[in-house]
Amino acid sequence: MSAITEITLPQLAESQVTATIDRWLKQPGDMIEVYEPICEINTDKVTAEIPSTVAGKLTKILVGAGEDVPVGTVICLIETEGEASNDEVASVSSTQTTGTMNTPVAAIQAQGDDSMRNRYSPAVQQLAAQHGIQLANVQGTGMGGRITRKDVLAYVAMEASMVRTPAPQQEATSSQVRTGGMHLSESPRLPKIEIDDPYSHGRGETYIDITPIRNTIARNMRQSVSEIPHAWTMIEVDVTNLVLLRNKYKDEFKKREGVNLTYLAFLLKAAVNAIRDFPIMNSVWAVDKIIVKRDINISLAVGTEDSVMTPVIKNADLKNVAGLAKEIEELARKTREGKLSLSDMQGGSFTINNTGSFGSILSYPIINYPQAAILTFESIVKKPVVINDMIAVRSMANLCLSLDHRILDGVICGRFLQRVKDNLESFNLESSIY
């Protein structure tokens, strides 16, 4: 009785993965004793003779001299007396399954198990809330019938293709997307509309769920209006030179810094310098005292599709125009991506809103409680004005200011606005933005 034993290429050194057969010391037909060398191999670390692990007759050479093969390749066959011996010794545990992972999943699902149907992961809950979905309606394809994130997203996509909102969609305007303020290229999307009452057709009503952010805005607005006695004033600013200055630098700035150089950056600089001269503008009413804040942290109104947020530029007086432009872009980006942190939102002492970016020429803003005032920068419009008793065409913009009349009066606000105006009008082609 005979059997064929395979001789495989052994691993002679750690990290060795291949070797070359240098030459065969035995030929087919030769009788081999156990541990007798049968060939020489070469790696870049060692050269060695390979001994046979069995006694018998060499029947076939499978890898020729000069060939480079991976460790473990069968290099020749030896016919032995008795049972074939394999290199692999049977291990105690028969299955080679993993040490640290558990059994396959297929068994559970096959039974039509629904045990995970009502286990909603945080991602699933967040997506459902965001899109206003009733999870009972969603098909679950995960383990145990679990509704997965993918399932929710698929449901949303399916719904979007079926339900049409009654409000007409506006065409995207051709103006470019601004970085400060709301986006003009899209009309704001209404939150998901739920038609709750099946008997209401003909009544002409629809209900919109209140999102948490809408709730917060509502609460803040109500508190501001009911507590703070608002007064309002405005001033006109000649920004012709500012327009020229910005046009001069905007392309180079975008190329160099990767960020848009907006009018808002210049306004911020002008306003912040004015606040430095009139620090009472940067204060808070505290019943028996007025707290004048030393750090000038500007809350910047940034609109998203369905809300407005006011992230804060800290210590805005320590930044130059270029620095402010970058910070504006950064905060707007974070707002759009929903990445604002708590510290981004805290500490504001004065709010500025670039209402002009969505076309307004006059606004009556509501103060960002508990600050003392809020300043808006309206749309820049070319107008005929009188200068030195002659008519000229100039770029004009309005600045509107709502103020807490407990802390501030007309005179101080008028002076403040005048200072902002002077600062803005002093920007010209010689000005530096760094």
């Binding site: 750690e14 545990s93 040490g99 640290t100 699902q109 994130r149």
Partner: protein, 327 residues
């Protein structure tokens, strides 16, 4: 551009940096005349002489300590620990000294040292030639720790480490030396320390790992793609500091994450990655965070079935990835 082995990439990095800056030198056991027990420093002794490729006595603490002294003077030593299993006598010098020199001197002194050590098993090395000790040094502020997978990263990260002003532990995988090869540019480039790399984009599950296990992960991802499972693979490359942004972004994409490493599970780098994900992305997780790691035993045995039981392989990895995808 040429396709070279992982070990060649490491050798080239040292060669080129030593050509570029005469302050760079190598020291360690057998690195000179022999060219290293794995041949990693082969050729350097001939090119640069025994002054700059120093065969040291058998004393890891001195290898690290002398290198630290020379680094404080202003040189750029690359200290080799023959096996990471044997680097523990140098631990005091690494953790008490190198990591703290800049901090304790209030930025007066610094220690721009690189310590290279081979990690990982699969070479029938048994308990003391196969360990992955990254987690021992991980979490020590003041140290940087890298563990490249591809030859491109091996070369780029070693160059970056040599040029870095802070101490860097460079953990190279010994099984990868000749098993992993890849395209590496001929010209000078570095891979920045602290930046992870996306190896594959996907939308169903995210797998985060470092070093050789990525080879199995890439293999498994290709196989699972045929079953309709799309895998996003993130190669950490740098273990300390972790690229937090990249980790969060990769998990946000799918909501499901599997963290893989050969080092044992408890207290491994994966635990920290999992904690970061849990802290920041609670509401974006669609499944519990999963970890697939070496078992919690002192080290792998030399007998083949035991080593196989310990080590990761394409089957184990694929199984875990599939389970996660189906959750």
């Amino acid at each position: 551009m040429a396709k070279i082995d992982y070990i060649e990439a490491i050798r080239l990095a040292m060669k080129e940096e030593m050509e570029r800056d005469e302050n760079v030198f190598v020291l360690g056991e057998d690195v000179g005349l022999k060219g290293g027990v794995f041949t990693t420093t082969k050729g350097l002794h001939e090119q640069f002489g025994e002054q700059r490729v120093i065969d040291t006595p058998l004393s890891e603490s001195a290898i690290a300590g002398v290198a630290i002294g020379a680094a404080m003077y202003g040189m750029k030593p690359i200290a080799e620990m023959q096996y990471s299993d044997f680097m523990f006598p140098a631990t005091n010098q690494i953790i008490s000294e190198a990591a703290k020199i800049r901090y304790r001197s209030n930025n007066d002194w610094s220690c721009p040292i690189v310590i290279r050590a081979p990690i990982g098993g699969g070479v029938f090395g048994g308990l003391y030639h196969s360990q992955c000790p990254e987690s021992v040094f991980f979490g020590t502020p003041g140290l940087k720790i890298v563990a490249p997978y591809t030859p491109y990263d091996a070369k780029g990260l070693l160059k970056a480490a040599i040029r870095d002003e802070d101490p860097v532990l460079y953990f190279e995988n010994k099984k990868s030396y000749r098993l992993v090869s890849g395209e590496v540019p001929d010209d000078d480039y570095i891979v920045p320390i602290g930046k992870a790399n996306v190896l594959r984009e996907g939308d169903d599950i995210t797998v985060i790992s470092y070093s050789l296990p990525l080879r199995f992960i890439e293999q498994a991802a290709a196989e699972l793609a045929e079953e309709g499972i799309s895998t996003h693979i993130l190669d950490l490359r740098t273990i300390q500091p972790l690229d937090k942004e990249a980790i969060l972004e990769s998990v946000r994409r799918t909501g499901k994450v599997l963290i893989v490493h050969e080092d044992n599970k408890t207290g491994g780098v994966g635990a920290e990655v999992a904690a970061i994900i849990a802290e920041e992305l609670l509401f974006e997780l669609d499944a519990p965070i999963m970890r697939l790691c070496g078992p919690d035993v002192p080290a792998m045995p030399i007998n083949p079935p035991g080593e196989k039981f310990f080590l990761l392989n394409a089957d184990k990895v694929r199984e875990a990835m599939k389970q996660l995808a189906q959750f």
